[in-house]
C-alpha cells in the first residue's frame, strides 16, 4: 500500500555494525596511544612512519579517489610543511608543536593560488601540472640560504629538545631526551592520522560529501542539480593541503634534517602514497588503512633487497590493478558486503495514522 500523503520521512545513516566499529576504533586509538609505555624505541619510530604514511594516504585518497583530482604533486605540501617548520622554529623561534599548527594554515594560503593555476588543467594535464608546481616549490625553497639552500639544514637539539611537554614525558616514562622526543612525535603522528581519518569521514558524510559522490558519477548532471563543483573541489584541495602540510611538518620535526630533494621527493611523498591507496582500494576510507599495512610490511621485510624491492612493489601494484581494480579492501568489501565507515543515507517512511 502506498504511504499516505501525510507520511513522514527521515534519514537513517548508522547501522549496528557502524556503532561497533566506532567503539572499536576508540579503543584501538587508546591502546595505540599507550604503546610508548611498554614498547621499545624502534617500535615507536616504525609506528610513527606507519601513521604519517596512513595520514598522507587518506589525504591523497580524498583528493584523487573522492574528488577526482589526481595529483602527483602532493610532495609540494609535504616539503612546504617541512620547510615552514624549520623556518618557524629556527628563524621565528616558535615551539615546534605551535609551528606544526601554523604550517597547516600557511599551507592553505599557498594552496589557494596554486589551485587557481592547476585547476585550469584537466585530467592528465592536471596531474602533470601539480608535479611541475611541486618542482617550482622545490627550486624556490632551495634558494633560501638561511634554510641551507640546495644542500639543506638540520634542526639543532636546542629546538628539538625544547618541544612543549618534553620534561613531563621524561619524568612520566622515565626516559632520556631522544626517547621523549620520539614519544611526542608518536602522539602527534597518531593524532594526525586519527584526525585525518575522522576529517575524511566527516567530509564524506557532509553535504560536500554528497556533492563529491554526484560529481564522481557525472559532473554535468551534478551541476544541473545545483552542485558548485569548482567550489567543492577547491575546498577539498585546500583541506588536503592543510593536512598534508601539517603531516610534512611532523615528518621533518621527526627527521630533524631537511633538504629540497628529500622534502619535495615525488617518490617518497606521492608515488608510495599512490601505491598504498591503489593497493588498499581507492575511493574507500578503509582502503588506505589496508594499503598502509601492506606497504609497511613490504618496506620492513623487502627494503634490504634494494632495486628488487621497487620491482616487487611495482609488480604488486600492477597485479592488484589487473585482478582487483578496487584494491584489496574493495575486493573484500564487494565479496562480503563490509563497510566500517558507512556513508550511505537510507530513507525511512513512517505512515501517520
Amino acid at each position: 500500500m502506498p504511504p499516505a500523503a501525510s507520511a513522514h520521512y527521515r534519514i537513517e545513516r548508522k547501522t549496528p555494525a557502524s556503532y561497533a566499529a566506532a567503539g572499536a576504533a576508540c579503543v584501538l586509538v587508546a591502546v595505540l596511544a599507550a604503546i610508548p609505555g611498554f614498547a621499545g624505541r624502534n617500535v615507536v619510530e616504525e609506528l610513527i612512519f606507519v601513521y604519517y604514511m596512513l595520514a598522507l594516504a587518506q589525504c591523497w585518497n580524498l583528493l584523487a579517489g573522492y574528488a577526482g583530482l589526481v595529483s602527483i604533486g602532493q610532495q609540494a605540501f609535504v616539503g612546504l610543511g617541512g620547510y615552514l617548520l624549520f623556518a618557524l622554529t629556527i628563524i621565528a623561534g616558535l615551539d615546534p608543536l605551535v609551528a606544526i599548527l601554523l604550517c597547516g594554515l600557511i599551507a592553505a594560503a599557498f594552496a589557494l593560488p596554486t589551485a587557481l593555476v592547476v585547476f585550469r588543467l584537466r585530467g592528465a594535464y592536471f596531474a602533470i601540472g601539480t608535479w611541475v608546481v611541486a618542482e617550482v616549490y622545490r627550486l624556490g625553497f632551495a634558494q633560501f640560504k638561511r634554510l641551507g639552500g640546495g644542500t639543506g639544514t638540520s634542526l639543532g637539539p636546542e629546538i628539538t629538545n625544547q618541544v612543549f611537554g618534553i620534561e613531563w614525558i621524561k619524568s612520566l616514562f622515565d626516559v632520556r631526551t631522544p626517547a621523549a622526543r620520539d614519544i611526542i612525535s608518536y602522539w602527534v603522528a597518531l593524532a594526525l592520522a586519527a584526525a585525518t581519518l575522522v576529517l575524511v569521514y566527516l567530509i564524506l558524510r557532509s553535504r560536500r560529501g554528497l556533492a563529491l559522490g554526484a560529481i564522481r558519477d557525472s559532473e554535468d548532471a551534478a551541476e544541473s542539480v545545483g552542485v558548485d563543483y569548482f567550489r567543492v573541489k577547491l575546498g577539498i584541495y585546500v583541506i588536503t593541503a592543510v593536512a598534508t602540510g601539517m603531516i610534512g611538518a611532523l615528518i621533518y620535526l621527526q627527521n630533524a634534517r631537511i633538504s629540497p630533494d628529500a622534502a619535495f621527493s615525488v617518490l617518497n611523498w606521492t608515488a608510495y602514497v599512490i601505491f598504498i591507496v591503489v593497493i588498499g582500494g581507492i575511493g574507500t576510507i578503509e582502503g588506505p588503512i589496508v594499503g598502509t599495512l601492506v606497504f609497511y610490511l613490504m618496506q620492513r621485510y623487502l627494503a634490504s633487497f634494494g632495486a628488487w624491492y621497487l620491482i616487487v612493489l611495482g609488480a604488486l601494484a600492477i597485479a592488484v590493478m589487473l585482478f582487483a581494480p578496487k584494491g584489496l579492501w574493495g575486493y573484500a568489501a564487494g565479496r562480503y558486503g563490509l563497510a566500517l565507515f558507512p556513508i550511505r543515507r537510507r530513507l525511512l517512511v513512517k505512515n501517520q495514522d
Partner: protein, 239 residues
C-alpha cells in the same frame, strides 16, 4: 507574467547551426511543448537554457534577470531544473540519494527538510518502493522517472523535460502523462520536448516546432499541428 524570456538565441557547432535566432516567452504556470525532427536543435535549446552550453549570441532571462552568463548550478538555484534525454543518474547513489543531493544543493535545504521533500516526490513519481535501491540497477522507465524526480527535488519553478516518454511502452507513457498532469496542477511551469505528439498534446497548452535550429511554428497545439509547414515535416509521422 513571463517566467522565461529568450531573445535572438544562436548556437553553432562548426557549420551546423543548432539554434538560429530563437525567441519565445514562457509565462509562469504555462505548459509548453516542443517538437521537431531529429537533430532539429531541441536538446541544444535546453542545454542553452539550463547552462550546459553558452550561446554564441542572444539573451536568456529568468524573472526578468539576465542569466545568459550564469553557470548551470546558479541557474538551478535560481529555479531551472532539467531532465536528460539519455538518463544520467548518479549510479553509485541510491535513488533517494540522487534526490537528496539535488534538494540539498539545488534546493538549499537541510538534510532533514530535504528528506521529507524527497520522500513526497518519490511517492508522487511512484519510485518510493525503490528509494533505497542503487540507481544503477533501475529499469528504463524507472530511470526516466528518476530524471524527473531528481529535477523536482531542486524545487524548480521551471521544469525542462527532454523526451521523458521516449522509449516507453504505451501504458508506461500513459502513466507518465498522468504524473506530469498532476505536477502541472502544483503550479510548476513545464517545457516538454517530446516526439510522441499525442502524449504532449494531452498536457501542454502551447506548442513550438523547431526545424534546422529555427522556430517554424508557435501557438495553440491544434492550430500548429494543422499548419502547412508542420504538416510538411510531419507527413506520415503522426496521425
Amino acid at each position: 507574467m513571463s517566467l522565461l524570456e529568450i531573445h535572438g538565441l544562436r548556437k553553432c557547432f562548426g557549420s551546423v547551426v543548432a539554434a538560429d535566432d530563437i525567441a519565445f516567452i514562457v509565462a509562469a504556470g504555462e505548459a509548453l511543448g516542443i517538437i521537431g525532427p531529429n537533430g532539429a536543435g531541441k536538446t541544444t535549446l535546453f542545454n542553452l537554457i539550463a547552462g550546459g552550453l553558452f550561446p554564441d549570441a542572444g539573451t536568456i532571462r529568468l524573472d526578468g534577470h539576465d542569466i545568459t552568463a550564469a553557470r548551470p548550478h546558479q541557474r538551478c538555484r535560481a529555479g531551472i531544473a532539467r531532465s536528460y534525454q539519455i538518463p544520467r543518474p548518479f549510479e553509485n547513489f541510491t535513488v533517494f540519494e540522487n534526490l537528496l543531493v539535488a534538494a540539498v544543493h539545488g534546493g538549499r535545504k537541510s538534510e532533514a527538510d530535504a528528506a521529507q521533500l524527497c520522500g513526497e516526490i518519490l511517492n508522487r513519481c511512484r519510485l518510493l518502493p525503490r528509494a533505497n535501491a542503487l540507481a544503477g540497477s533501475l529499469t528504463l522507465l524507472e530511470r526516466k522517472r528518476l530524471e524527473m524526480a531528481r529535477a523536482l527535488a531542486t524545487a524548480p519553478r521551471l521544469l525542462l523535460l527532454d523526451e521523458i516518454a521516449g522509449g516507453l511502452t504505451e501504458s508506461e507513457c500513459a502513466e507518465l502523462v498522468g504524473t506530469i498532469k498532476e505536477l502541472r496542477a502544483t503550479g510548476v511551469t513545464i517545457v516538454w520536448i517530446e516526439h510522441i505528439v499525442h502524449a504532449l498534446v494531452a498536457v501542454v497548452d502551447r506548442l513550438i516546432v523547431l526545424n534546422f535550429g529555427r522556430k517554424i511554428a508557435d501557438g495553440n497545439p491544434q492550430a500548429v499541428m494543422s499548419s502547412a509547414d508542420v504538416q510538411q515535416i510531419y507527413i506520415g509521422i503522426e496521425a
